[in-house]
Structure formats: C-alpha cells, structure tokens
Amino acid sequence: MSQQIATTPQQFEYRGEDAQVLPAGKVTLHVENVSKTFVSKGRIVEALRPVDLKVAAGEFVCFLGPSGCGKSTLLSIIAGLQEPTTGRVWANGKQVKGPGTDRILLFQEAALFPWLDVQRNIEFGLRQAGIRARERAAIAHKFIETVHLKGFERSYVHQLSGGMRQRAAIARALAIDPAILLMDEPFGSLDAFTRDRLHTELESIWAETQKTILFVTHNVREAVALGDRVLVFAPRPGRIVREFRIDLPRPRSLEDHNLVDQSAEILQVLRSEMVANEEEENDGTGR
C-alpha cells in the first residue's frame, strides 16, 4: 500500500513536517513550538507534538485528521482555552494568554444559548463589550442578513435546524468582529446537503469579510473545498505530517474533478500514515 503511494505522482505542492512555511502577506497568527502532553493513568500522552505555524491575514487554513490527532487541541490552544505544555502563540501581534475576542471559537454543537433568542445570542458578545442596545441591534441585524436568518430573530435554539444553528453561531462570532475565526468541526453533525450549502456560504462570507479562518475537520473533501492550505494531522502521537497548498480557483465545487483528485491524494497520505502508525504499534518498535 505504501509503495503504491510512493509511485503516485504529486500534482501539487506539499511540504514535510519540518518545513517552515512562510505565508505571503502579513502574519496574523504565529504558533511557535507549541506542544501538549498530559498524564493519563500514569502514562504520558503526547496529544500534540511541537508545531510551528504561521498564518497570513485573510488565509483559510484547514486542520485535517482523524480523531485524537491533536487538531482540536491545537485550535483550543490558539483560542486560549487550553495552555500549551511548551511553546507560545502570538495572535494579532500579542501573545495569547487566555481567550480573547480577537479569536472566536465555533463548535460542532453551535453552543448557542438556549435561554436567548437568535438576536440576543448574536448580541451576546457586544453586550459584554458594553455596546449600547440600539447599536447592538443594528449590528445583529446586519449579520442576521449575512447568514440568511432574517425572520428568525425571535426564534429560540430549539426551533432552529442544525444548519440554522450554525448560521446563527457564525453571525454571533462575526458580530464581535474578530480577526480570526476558529472553527472546530462546525458542520460535522449536518447532513451532506446542508453542509454543501454552508460551505458555499462560508466561502462567500470569508471572501467578503477577509477574516482569517482556521477550520478543523476530519472530512478530506471539506478541507480541500475550503482551504488555501490543508495541514494533515496523524494520531498517536498527535502531530502534523504533511502540508498541502490548494490552489484551485474559487468558488469551488465538490464535483470539480481537480478537487476530487486532490482529495484522493490527501486521503492516500492520511491512510499511509495511519497504516505506518499501526504497523509501528504492532511491531512494538514505537514508543
């Protein structure tokens, strides 16, 4: 299997884990030697091996990998919700010391507050910032239109579909006007049709707002459809194994054969990593 991959011609650029990628344009996020280890049942678990990463302002970067590969851990460290074991993160010129409104995290479960209606959910961050009611309402209306939720301002979370919940969560994040959106498998629990629509909408929101987006997913095609760059993670220990630059024209279509080909390539890399990993574990030559 691994031989088969070795003979596959690479039609696009990729880099090994050691390569330091310098994106074009202004760097908005700098991850320096960040790793995470923790002790579980007396054993040291490497959740994430040291990572170096620079992300340019306005870039769309996807973290791709199976569960347990450290991709969500890295996102959470960048969000400031977890402390790294080693290393530092700089976001927007400041070192990350905790959560901040310049980096908003979005979750798979949307995490909208069920006791607030859609509009009050979207206003939540603005309210914390002490913005006055009239201005809050104006900002909320703007982003309700951006995510096509007009008419649902007074709806509660239990009255919304999964896709609408994610739209509301995106509006809630955009209302705070963060430089960076951190999306942790936001569309993971949606059906394929809804997910496709939200890909298109997210792409156009991204193009319009020029936000930097870090997007965690275990769906290869989703990563290729959305990302300027795709970082491939492998589990046990969690680490980045490859990096792909996706230069396909936008807006992208999941049916585009170039996109399908690139997805297949990345999937092969991911599979061979998993196989190598398992063999290593079976040999007992691993950790």
């Binding site: 919700l81 995290l105 939540f124 961050g125 309210r127 979370v157 705070i176």
Partner: protein, 267 residues
C-alpha cells in the same frame, strides 16, 4: 412546524376526550363508594364522614371565613419561608457549585441536612422562636433551602462546558458570566430543586402546624380531631390536596415544561 403541531392535536383529541370520560367515571364511582361506606354505620359517629357532609362543611367553613383565614395563614407562611429559601439557596448553590472549597466543606454538610426530614426542625424552632410565626417560617425555610441549594449546585455542575467556553471567549467574566450564562444554563436543574423544595416545605409546614396549633390548615385539621369532627378533617385534607395540585400545575408544571422545551430536553 405548525403543520406537525396541528397533526398531533388532530390525532390526540379523541384519545384525550376518552381519557377525561374515564377519569370522570372513576371519580363518580369513588364518590358513590365513599357515600355507601359513610351510610353503612361501620364507624362510630364523628369518626367518618360522607361526601355530602364534607361538602356541607366546606360550604359552611368557606362562608364563615375560617377556612379562608386558615388558607391565607398557611400560604403566607409558605410564601415568606420559600422566598427566604430561594434567595439563600441560590447564594449557597452558587458558592458550592463554583468554589471547590465551599463544595468540599459546606457541600457535604448540606447533603447531610438534606437527609434530615425538615419536620425534625420543629422542636428546635419552637425552642428558639417560641410559639410564633418565625418558628413556622423557620420550618418552611429548612424544608426548601437544601433542595434549592442542591438544585442550583447540580445545575452548575451539569452545565455543558461549551457554554462557559463560548461565553468566556466572547468576553464574559465575573458576575456577568454567572448571571447571564451559568445561572440560566443551570435552570433546568434549578427548577427540579425548586419543585422538590416546595413539596418538602409544604409537607413540613403541614406537619409543624399540627404540633403548633393556630388558625391554619394544620391547626384546623387538629381541631377536627379534638372535636371528633371527621367532616372537618376530610374537608381540610381536601383543601390541602387541591392547593398542592393547584400550585404544582399552575406554577411548577408550566415552568418545567417551558424550560425543558426551550433547553431542547424534550420535544
């Protein structure tokens, strides 16, 4: 969505009607059996009363005002005691739920107190406050306080961490985080505690009123025993049942339903 709702209604209406008919039939039979038992001379006079006697007593006692006064006195005690429990319970619950040291110390003490039936406080209440309103209110507070505290505590501990993470990420902290996120997120569990607290408080108040006789529902019930007036005892018990059912179905039932629905805990 509206379509789905109307379908459910349409579908369930005949069943609902049949259910009510069965219930009416059941209670009619029950009244008949009760009446037959009361007229069977199995009991000595004054120790049992039929539905007609009880109805007569109810009408008489409502007309001369003794029942209305008794209801007002008992409900007032309940309302005052329960309000005090509510305020103290939320404060204590927040302290235990949010602070590890309070949890380890105060939390275990409150768990212990919760295991003590609150009517056991009545002797102390009478000793400390004498024969007074404070004694009765104290018993109500002891009945509701620990349930409410533990409800708030459970609510905080069961809050999905994503709500807290999302809120902190959006700049919420301190009192704003507690008031706008932690407390509302804990509401489903808090309501369970409120409901349990009210039923404990109601039960212990009735028990305490049997011991400390004043013009109150418990006092009136004890009066019935003193004057061997079974009709009065049945009437007071009926009033206690109806009040309990009314408070449950008009306050706690709807509150629980709305919150469970909005929090996505039931369809």
């Amino acid at each position: 969505m509206a379509q789905v709702v109307s379908e459910i209604k349409h579908h369930s209406t005949p069943q609902w009607g049949a259910k009510v008919l069965r219930q009416i039939a059941f209670y009619l039979v029950l009244l008949l059996v009760w009446h037959k038992l009361a007229t069977s001379n199995l009991w000595s006079p004054g120790t049992f009363a039929g539905p007609l006697d009880v109805w007569g007593t109810l009408v008489e006692r409502f007309q001369n005002g003794t029942l209305i006064t008794a209801i007002a006195v008992s409900l007032r005690r309940l309302a005052i005691g329960y309000s005090i429990s509510l305020v103290l319970g939320i404060i204590l619950g927040l302290a235990i739920g949010l602070n590890r040291y309070f949890d380890e110390t105060l939390g275990s003490l409150i768990l212990g107190f919760q295991a003590l039936p609150s009517v056991c406080w009545t002797p102390f209440a009478l000793l400390w406050f004498g024969l007074s309103e404070q004694a009765m209110i104290f018993v109500v507070v002891m009945g509701a306080l620990f349930s409410i505290t533990l409800g708030v505590d459970a609510g905080i501990k069961n809050t999905p961490p994503v709500y807290i993470q999302a809120a902190r990420n959006m700049g919420a902290h301190g009192i704003a985080l507690a008031a706008q996120v932690i407390l509302p997120a804990a509401l489903p569990n808090i309501i369970v505690g409120l409901k349990q607290g009210w039923s404990f408080a109601w039960r212990s108040l009735m028990a305490a009123e049997l011991i400390y006789i004043t013009v109150s529902l418990g006092g009136l019930l004890e009066n019935g025993r003193d004057f061997v007036d079974a009709s009065l005892m049945f009437a007071v018990m009926l009033v206690i049942i109806v009040l309990g059912v009314l408070i449950n179905s008009s306050i706690f039932g709807p509150l629980e339903r709305i919150v469970r629905q909005r929090w996505g805990l039931q369809k």
